[in-house]
């Protein structure tokens, strides 16, 4: 297999909510970039439509029985409105799809919880909600990550970028590309409270993959997912270089408003705040190859100092000049 469990040369995508504005654009772009990676689309009531470069079905059950594409479908890309996500996930799981991406933002937390527990029972992989998708330059793309021309940000290499923020996933890949490191995989896991795929879930999956040279992780305040990475590394569960940036320190300095629950603070005592995450990862960095960047752009220096070899030449000048100046 070429690629990862999240995206590989066997990946065949079915898009749920295929004829919506964003989804249809993504299908068309994907077809142009990696022809044939998207196999089918589902929109109830639009079965048989020819508006997309892939066949459209009313139900997933029809699609998986289709003699042409049915057997090729193994990955679902979900683009339905927030309140329909749970329904879409159940439709996918009940029809045997084992890898799902939830692109939809603002999924109700209660639904996210039901989805997570169902996924655990069925042994499926779900990325998101609020994922932007996945990019493995040597294999293909799932979702809109990187836009119309992903070559701006992505070039094949050895770095794995894992980020809660979709936008930063691309921004980070681009920053590294300019400085000589390419991307093996970029995965936008989404920042939802109940995250179906966490940083440590990914690290466990890619642990033995020889193509992985280093991991760049972008974290945010809230939850315990970044702390879990520190725990995983210190327990010997991942030994390749990890550079991390955790945003949100400034929120701790802002006047406290309706701060999040005391209860949250109890369940996750000493976790959740940006500074908690940073100190846990820094502690892991004393014995293991882990570096936390103070400024986001220091991630490049962190990867450099961890001794990760460049995939190609550094192309950026030391001091970047503005495109235009009126001052």
């Amino acid at each position: 297999m070429k690629g990862t469990v999240y995206l590989n040369d066997k990946t065949g995508i079915v898009v749920i909510g295929a004829t919506g504005r964003e989804a249809s654009q993504v299908i068309k772009e994907s077809e142009a970039l990696y022809p044939g990676i998207v196999k089918a689309g589902i929109t109830p009531g639009k079965g048989g439509s020819t508006e997309l470069p892939v066949p459209v079905f009313d139900t997933l059950s029809e699609a998986v029985k289709d003699p042409k594409v049915g057997k090729l479908l193994n990955t679902a890309l979900i683009y339905v409105p927030p309140v329909s996500v749970l329904d879409a996930v159940m439709e996918c799981l009940d029809n045997g799809i084992k890898v799902l991406y939830i692109i939809t933002e603002h999924v109700p937390i209660r639904d996210s919880e039901i989805i997570f527990q169902e996924k655990e029972r069925r042994g499926a992989i779900i990325v998101g909600g609020t994922s932007l998708g996945c990019f493995v330059p040597s294999v293909g793309r799932i979702g809109a990550i990187g836009g119309k021309d992903p070559s701006v940000a992505f070039r094949d290499g050895g770095i794995v970028v894992i980020s809660k923020s979709g936008g930063l996933t691309v921004t980070t890949a681009e920053m590294f590309k300019r400085r000589g490191w390419g991307t093996y995989m970029a995965l936008a896991i989404g920042g939802d409270i109940i995250s179906n795929t966490t940083y440590s879930d990914v690290l466990k999956q890619i642990k033995g993959d020889p193509k992985v040279k280093a991991v760049v992780m972008l974290g945010e305040p809230g939850g315990a997912y970044e702390e879990q990475v520190a725990d995983l590394i210190t327990s010997g569960g991942f030994d390749k270089p990890v550079a991390a940036f955790i945003s949100g320190r400034f929120q701790e300095r802002m006047p406290e408003g309706v701060a999040f629950g005391h209860a949250g603070a109890i369940v996750e005592r000493g976790m959740g705040k940006a500074t908690d995450k940073i100190s846990r990862l820094e502690a892991a960095g004393k014995k293991y190859p882990v570096k936390v960047a103070f400024y986001y752009h220091d991630l490049v220096k962190a990867i450099e100092s961890l001794g990760v070899p460049r995939d190609f030449e550094d192309s950026t000048a030391e001091h970047v000049k503005p495109l235009y100046s009126t001052i």
Binding site: R110, G223, F250, P322, S325
Partner: protein, 416 residues
């Protein structure tokens, strides 16, 4: 969204049969309060504010002398509590309290599941309770939660009052059902009291903190009205910004929060906005407002939010900053929306020429979009620098700081 105590009692506790004291809510002293007080031997009066630790601020008062109730209600219904204005007073029966528990339900991200948190030592700030005395029960199967499971949990953690096992387990299940049914992020009762009533004992929720999921299937802003997450009323500009996204789901431009600074932040994308703001603050810039624009909003939305951002008085600099967009069109957002706002503000004499600008943006049609914006800068005499993604995103606020110091003698904050 956080609810006021009287909202939690009236709309959620009642529905899920969580026992509460007899109460009446009033914005001022009135007949309903007088009649209520008449029937009680004593009352507790509480200011209705969203901030916590009301008791320590003197915003919760026990009143036994009925002649004093009117004055206390008048005071607590209108006073400021930690800077937040009370919207009314909750007047409750005074309970004969035997003991106080702590109870809450929230999502534990460690377990990726709802967790019930219980302590026999409630009443004080939960942070002050010895962690050894706080017990957590994780709900690993949300499809079925029964009182017997709660009794097993209470038994396992050595709950001392065996007579209360059944009634308490039933109240806790009701609280859990309220948490799930009302789509909460947090439901906290501190204290959950055991009160004497004649020769009987009853369990009563003597407080109610509810934070609803803002993404709940029914938007809480529709049910309870929009409210600022900062524990203060929304400013006019914040209210205007909310309207931008109403009834138009193309992209998002109305998420706007004001602070007390002098640097306007026009930032794009959740993650990008956060790191940019963060770096700006670390670099010593005082932020005047925060925005999070994304999802390819049309030019009209960009026009409106640009005017709101730039209308805040006292600005010295503007940072327009985002990563490499996947979807958002740079020609539409910056080349059309922002540029038109600047043209119009200039024509109306509302554009401050002394502002220093740094723009850093990339994404679909960025070459065209940045060129259009540059032309707009030229024709309106706007001073600044425009970058694409060659400049790492978080170096943009640092560039702005350098320009501000050089050109207008800006004095950055000394950040530790």
């Amino acid at each position: 969204m956080k609810l006021y105590e009287h909202e939690a009692l009236g709309s959620i506790f009642k529905k899920y049969k969580i026992p509460v004291p007899r109460y009446v809510f009033a914005t001022e002293m009135n007949d309903a309060v007088s009649q209520f007080v008449e029937k009680e031997s004593g009352v507790v009066v509480k200011s209705m504010v969203l901030v916590g630790k009301r008791g320590k601020a003197g915003a919760v008062k026990v009143v036994s002398d009925k002649s004093k109730v009117a004055d206390v209600v008048k005071d607590l219904a209108t006073r400021d509590v930690y800077g937040e204005k009370s919207i009314g007073a909750l007047v409750e029966e005074k309970l004969d309290i035997e003991k106080e528990f702590y109870l809450s339900v929230t999502y534990s991200t460690k377990d990726r599941a709802p967790a019930i948190i219980f302590s026999e030592h409630g009443g004080m700030d939960v942070e002050e309770i010895d962690p050894k005395l706080i017990h957590t029960h994780v709900i690993t199967d949300v499809r079925s939660v029964y009182p017997y499971q709660i009794r097993q949990f209470l038994s396992n953690v050595g709950f001392s009052d065996k007579d209360l096992l059944r009634p308490l387990s039933e109240v806790i299940v009701n609280v859990y059902n309220a948490f799930v049914g009302a789509e909460c992020r947090l439901l906290e009762i501190n204290p959950l009291v055991v009160a004497r009533s004649g020769d009987k004992r009853k369990i009563v929720a003597a407080d109610a903190v509810i934070i609803l999921d803002d993404d709940a299937s029914v938007n809480p802003a529709i049910t309870y009205g929009a409210r600022s997450a900062q524990g203060r009323p929304l400013t006019q500009r914040e209210q205007d910004a909310i309207l931008i996204d109403q009834g138009d789901h193309r992209g998002k431009a109305g998420s706007y929060v004001e602070l007390e600074g002098d640097i306007a932040m026009m930032t794009f994308g959740g993650g990008g906005s956060t790191v940019t703001a963060e770096t700006a603050i670390e670099a010593g810039l005082r932020i005047a407002n925060l925005t999070d624009i994304g999802g390819n909003p049309p030019a009209e939305k960009m026009y409106r939010i640009s005017r709101i951002i730039l209308s805040k008085p006292g600005l010295k600099g503007v940072l327009v900053c985002g990563g490499t967009a996947s979807n958002t069109r740079i020609d539409v957002t910056l080349g059309e929306g922002l540029a038109k706002a600047l043209d119009d503000m200039k024509a109306e004499g509302k554009l401050d020429k002394n502002l220093v600008w740094v723009v850093r943006r990339s994404g679909p049609e960025y070459v065209k979009g940045l060129k259009m914006l540059h032309e707009c800068f030229e024709r309106n005499g706007i001073r600044g620098e425009i970058y694409d993604s060659q400049l790492p995103i978080t170096e943009a606020p640092i560039r702005l700081k350098e320009l501000l110091i050089k050109h207008i003698g800006y004095k950055p904050e000394n950040v530790g």
